[in-house]
């Protein structure tokens, strides 16, 4: 049991981070803190993907040493790489198997799977863009309301809504007369 838990330490950490981020995103009243929680949540996803990509004893996926110059055809390389990631990630410790497959392809060194890293590069950009848009909206909220506390904003909106409703009721009364 303990072994089961410890073997997957990275996943526990990721789950923990994810839940913390999610909790902050929902529970914080300060909008900036909400965005921080969101950022934490997204970062935990990046960790999740990169830990999927890990292969035991694997190095950065750039051909070096004897491998360099061996494989010229890009297409093969890619379709090859995507096949291994599956079994590599399915049970975290079976990286050796994948490594053997690599060897069968004629590569000297073991490389980790580059695809999730590339995906996360995109996800990071998306995260940055989200953060920028979110902060921009918060700046505008600050200018319009003078606060970044969600509950104060809600109270102000409620006031406006109530006054609108009452003025509307009056207006419709006037219309009826």
């Amino acid at each position: 049991m303990l072994e089961f838990v410890l073997e997957r330490g990275n996943y526990w950490a990721i789950i923990g981070l994810m839940l913390i981020g999610l909790y902050i995103a929902f529970a914080a009243t300060n909008l900036i803190k909400r965005l921080i929680g969101l950022g934490l949540f997204q970062t935990s996803i990046i960790l999740f993907y990169t830990s999927l990509a890990r292969i035991d004893n694997g190095t950065a996926p750039i051909l070096f040493g004897k491998d360099y110059g061996k494989k010229k055809s890009h297409g093969d390389e890619y379709s090859g790489a995507s096949d291994y990631s599956g079994d590599a990630a399915e049970h975290g410790s079976s990286g050796y198997e994948a490594a053997h497959n690599y060897a069968a392809e004629g590569l000297e060194n073991v490389y980790s799977n580059p695809l999730p890293h590339v995906l996360m590069l995109t996800a990071i950009v998306v995260g940055v863009a989200t953060l920028a848009v979110g902060l921009a909206i918060i700046v505008r909220i600050r200018e319009a309301y003078g606060t970044v506390e969600a509950d104060e904003i809600r109270a102000m909106d409620l006031e406006v809504a109530i006054s609108e409703a009452s003025s509307e009721a009056e207006e419709s009364k006037a219309g009826a007369v």
């Binding site: 750039i62 010229k72 590069l121 920028a132 902060l135 921009a136």
Partner: protein, 150 residues
């Protein structure tokens, strides 16, 4: 800029900023053989501008590199990227198919090389432009916060 207590910062920044910019270009053009490329280089180049504005103030920075210019660079990078896609289309390949760029024989790699370099330049422009634009968008508003709010 009263007094001299920022003098070390200013001197160090003046020395560092060109080196950072150069490093940015190194990361960009060495991206073919090592980790690096347009994304990272774009951010590093943007950091130059941001660092400059942190130390010398936002107004001189905006005079040197105008927000309009940065926005233009960002859009231009995007257009370059998509443009390569259309270039490949015009040459009879699929969208973004580098092999088709020069209609070369199978086995030729000129298209792959040129394609990825142009694409990375587009990414460099887009990222650098976008990062500085985002920075300007926030930093440029500082004056609108009233004093009593601090």
């Amino acid at each position: 800029m009263k007094g001299d207590h920022h003098v070390i910062l200013r001197v160090v920044a003046k020395a560092l900023i060109p080196i950072i910019a150069m490093y940015g270009f190194y990361v960009h053009f060495h991206g073919e053989y090592s980790p690096g490329g347009g994304f990272q280089a774009g951010v590093i180049l943007a950091v130059c501008v941001i660092l400059y504005s942190l130390i010398f103030g936002i107004a001189p920075t905006m005079r040197a590199i105008t927000p309009g210019f940065e926005r233009f660079i960002g859009g231009l990078g995007f257009i370059i990227y998509v443009g390569v896609g259309f270039w490949a289309l015009a040459m009879g390949g699929n969208f973004l198919e580098y092999d088709a760029l020069f209609r070369e024989e199978p086995g030729g790699h000129a298209g792959q090389h040129t394609g990825i370099i142009v694409i990375e330049i587009g990414v460099l422009f887009a990222v650098a432009g976008a990062m500085v634009t985002i920075f300007y968008a926030f930093a440029g508003r500082v004056s609108e916060i009233r004093d009593e709010d601090w």
